[in-house]
């Protein structure tokens, strides 16, 4: 079953040998030292404070949507940092390796990274940023907020929700393992064909990339199913479709997109896997293979994936702008319509990612025109936010600042995106740094929205706000850094600098590369303020109100701050679109329920985290072609799932007295508080 594998292979260890550990590479060795040290510090601290059991019981085995959301966000932020370090290394390499006389260090001809290493870095940068930074952050905020906004107890399928998280984590774990055992793919995050095929890429890098991608996309598909079912089935009484907050609408559209596209990329990656493991010829150049098929399948997933990340960002702006303008969202129905338009158009524009692959003018013309259509609903959204601010009472809190810069970046990214959608222009800058600058503008819109969202809902989750002063310093340094890094890239793209260059032959570009590098330095400054913001907020922990910003409009601001693990002591009855604003208008926002009924909640389970661990082992074993281990871990996953299906645990019941006690002392119910062991229903009935 193994096709033309270079080098040794043994039944026990597959392709794995000591030679796979890059101990001769100083960059990787020092990275390993830092990661190992951090790991030791974290585990040591957990041991020292006796929190290991707490972490296992309350976090790793949890099925609570809020804790899962928080863990998604932590994963996203950690991977964002790693992706940023990759980006910093790339910009530094391009700065150093500029011109034929540029010096070389650490064994590289120019700069300090030989092409093979450089290629892995940008592949990792793209893969990490999309699948393990942006996607978990989006999924995490969705998990946190959507059930609260629709007044639900939890997601529709809490156990599946935890499984999604741990599958995503297992993909990220594979990426991290690839740093220190073997290598990562050098075939770009899109997986160039036929370059990723066995004959031209016989190493384990592509396998690592493929399995990390595959596992996380399965996790994302499950999450999409869960979110759609939650929004459709779990809304509180009275929450009709058109009373739903716009963020929930955008979550719904985005997950419809997710459910429809991830199977396609699963097929594309599986075909690549079959090619690599069995020697078939889907995407090879020879034997009738058609690598255009891969490019099409990939971008049928890949373009809607952009909107999969962008629509939640738009949803976040639609929550934040009204709150900080102290005014209802302008044009609610057309906002919903625009979300669906963007999602719908997103399905039929994929080929604009390869205008230069020789399609005829008919196809290029169609895909150009279709792509431009996206500009209409996006423009509508921008206008609606602007008219929400118009005649409002605006406060410049940090989330609002992020939303405003997001809007500006959206305009720049939109302009350059409309330019690129015209294939007549794309012929001149396709695959150049102009494209890189354009889509970084767009992902910075997503980034701004995510930072806005995290800052906005932080008090709801943890009970205290993030420090405003340092948060604003972080904001300004981050914005300055982004401008410094990416504005020069637009010009460099015009000047003909291609993407993915390990070496730039034209030394005249040095000044712009320096500006861009200065931006990287600025990012480090902003990182300092980010750390300081976290430190100061955690140190002071100034308690926040239920309606933390004072002008909240939606349901999540109705429940306590920090939010109890059961969300609402009694399910609210929904009377209006902006329920809290409606209750404020009626003067009843402080009215609490007078009596409680018992709440039925699901028990924690270790099965999802075990599935995640086994999936990591499976991916690792497949990557290194350790067949016995692959089969064993796959069987183990199936057996674990079957055993779990025999489990009679139907969750537990929170008694009315318990609820009353926690309602009086909210800190007891906070998601960071340790809960006493409550007997499961089956056990109660047995007695």
């Amino acid at each position: 079953m193994q096709v033309a594998v270079d080098g040794p292979w043994s039944p026990l260890l597959g392709r794995l040998s000591l030679a796979a550990i890059p101990y001769d590479n100083p960059i990787l060795v020092s990275t390993f030292a830092v990661v190992a040290l951090l790991g030791i510090v974290i585990i040591g601290a957990a041991l020292y404070f006796g929190k290991l059991g707490y972490i296992w019981r309350e976090w790793l085995t949890t099925v609570d949507h809020k804790k899962i959301g928080v863990m998604y966000i932590i994963l996203g932020l950690v991977m964002l940092f790693r992706g940023f370090m990759d980006g910093a290394m790339m910009r530094t390499q391009q700065l150093l390796a500029d011109g034929p006389n540029s010096p070389g260090y650490l064994g590289a001809q120019h700069g300090y990274l030989p092409p093979y290493h450089f290629d892995q870095i940008y592949t990792a940068h793209g893969t990490l940023m999309l699948f393990f930074a942006a996607t978990p952050l989006v999924a995490g905020l969705g998990n946190l907020i959507v059930p609260l906004q629709i007044g639900a107890r939890d997601m529709a399928f809490p156990y599946l929700n935890a499984t999604s998280l741990w599958l995503t984590v297992s993909g990220a774990a594979l990426c991290m393992i690839s740093l220190f055992v073997g290598e990562f793919s050098n075939a770009t995050w899109v997986g160039l064909m036929p370059f990723s095929e066995m004959p031209t890429n016989p190493g384990v890098g592509v396998d690592y990339w493929m399995w990390a991608f595959q596992l996380s996309s399965i996790g994302t598909t499950f999450n999409a199913i869960n979110m759609i079912a939650t929004i459709v089935k779990m809304r509180a009484p009275g929450m009709r479709w058109f009373r739903m907050p716009v963020y929930c609408w955008s979550s719904l559209t985005t997950n419809i997109i997710g459910l429809s596209i991830f199977p396609v990329v699963t097929v594309a990656l599986t075909m690549l896997g079959i090619d690599r493991y069995f020697g078939t010829h889907f995407f090879t150049a020879g034997y009738g293979g058609n690598f255009m098929l891969y490019v099409n399948l990939f971008w049928i997933w890949g373009h809607p994936e952009v909107y999969f990340l962008m629509l939640p960002a738009f949803g976040l702006f639609s929550e934040i702008v009204p709150t900080f303008s102290n005014k209802a969202l302008f044009g609610y129905p057309t906002m919903v319509a625009a979300s669906f338009s963007i999602g719908g158009i997103g399905w039929v524009v994929w080929a604009h990612h390869f205008f230069t692959m020789g399609m005829g003018p008919e196809l290029n013309g169609y895909f150009s025109a279709a792509t431009m259509l996206v500009g209409i609903p996006t423009g509508v959204k921008a206008f609606n936010w602007l008219f929400t601010m118009y005649r409002g009472r605006i406060t410049y809190a940090t989330p609002m600042l992020w939303a405003l810069i997001g809007l500006v970046l959206l305009l720049i990214g939109g302009l350059t995106g409309m330019m690129l959608s015209a294939s007549v222009f794309d012929y001149t800058v396709h695959n150049s740094l102009f494209v890189v600058a354009h889509f970084h503008c767009m992902v910075l819109v997503i980034g701004a929205a995510l930072f806005a969202g995290v800052t906005y809902w932080w008090p709801k989750v943890f009970g205290f706000k993030l420090d405003e002063r340092n948060g604003q310093m972080y904001f300004w340094t981050f914005v300055l850094a982004s401008l410094l890094v990416f504005v020069p890239l637009f010009y460099l793209g015009f000047a003909g600098v291609t993407r993915r260059l390990d070496y730039i032959y034209n030394p005249a570009l040095k000044p712009l590369l320096w500006v861009s590098e200065g931006g990287i330095g600025m990012y480090f400054v902003s990182l300092f303020y980010f750390g300081k913001m976290l430190y100061v907020s955690l140190r002071d922990q100034i308690p926040a109100q239920a309606d933390a910003w004072g002008t909240g409009r939606t349901l999540e601001w109705l429940t306590h701050t920090p939010v109890p693990f059961y969300n609402f002591a009694v399910t609210p009855q929904i009377n209006a679109r902006d329920e809290l604003a409606w209750r404020k208008a009626k003067g009843v926002e402080g009215v609490q329920p007078t009596h409680y009924v018992p709440i039925h909640l699901p028990s924690n389970t270790a099965v999802p985290v075990i599935i995640g661990a086994l999936a990591t082992v499976f991916g690792f074993a497949m990557t290194w072609r350790i067949w016995w281990l692959s089969i064993a871990s796959l069987l183990a996953i199936i057996i674990v799932v079957i055993i779990r299906s025999f489990d009679k645990n139907e969750g537990y019941v929170l008694s009315a007295e318990d609820i009353a006690k926690m309602e009086n002392q909210v800190a007891l119910a906070s998601i960071i508080a340790e809960q006493p062991k409550r007997p499961a229903l089956a056990q109660v009935e047995a007695h």
């Binding site: 199977p263 069995f278 009738g288």
Partner: protein, 209 residues
């Protein structure tokens, strides 16, 4: 629960007990969503098949008409439809709470599914033995992948049926078990539908070219 606000109007603010959702309904809905995803997986495979079912992609090797066994395909279609019928008859017993009837229906469906897989397996094995295995050309790659993807779905369904046979006996008709039986029925009909698509697209249309 109605609350009086300061102005005296009765307002409904809280709704105790409203969070009990029908678990089987939510699970079935979720399973339908999963089936949409699975259907898109087959869509991508059919699209790939359409692209690669082409003399260029056969690389000198055979095309559809030379690799399918049309009479077997017809028999397989009958078997798979009979299997779905058997399972459906089993779920009629579910309404009566008749565990033995359900188990009998599942067992019949399972055995018919096994027979289908046996025919499919021997046909593909014979094809590969002639030197027309999946590594021969891109067309054969997609031909094998499409058929085996469907076969893998059946295998998964059969495994699921085995588990359900035991669970109906051991656990009885609990909420979970009934939910699973209903979802399995959806799944089994789904894979049969996919086979009908394969039969129509590959065996009939492809064979006619």
């Amino acid at each position: 629960m109605a609350t009086s606000n300061p102005t005296g109007a009765a307002l409904a603010l809280w709704n105790p007990g409203a969070d009990e959702h029908d678990p089987i309904s939510a699970r079935t809905y979720g399973f339908w969503l999963y089936l949409i995803g699975d259907a898109l997986l087959f869509c991508s495979l059919f699209a790939s098949y359409a692209v690669l079912d082409n003399p260029v992609n056969a690389a000198g090797g055979p095309l559809t008409a030379q690799v399918i066994n049309t009479p077997h395909g017809l028999w397989q279609t009958f078997i798979i439809l009979a299997s779905v019928l058997a399972y459906s008859l089993g779920t009629v017993s579910l309404k009566n709470g008749n565990a033995a009837g359900v188990q009998l229906g599942i067992l019949a469906a399972l055995l018919l599914g096994g027979a289908f897989l046996y025919i499919s397996g021997t046909d593909l094995w014979a094809l590969a033995a002639q030197g027309n295995g999946p590594t021969r050309s891109a067309f054969l790659s997609v031909f094998f992948t499409l058929l085996l993807t469907h076969g893998l779905h059946m295998l998964f369904g059969i495994l699921w049926m085995l588990v359900m046979l035991v669970q109906v006996g051991v656990l009885g008709f609990t909420k979970d078990v009934v939910g699973r039986l209903l979802n399995l029925r959806l799944f089994w009909q789904f894979q049969a539908t996919m086979w009908v698509c394969v039969y129509f697209y590959v065996y009939l249309l492809g064979g006619a070219r």
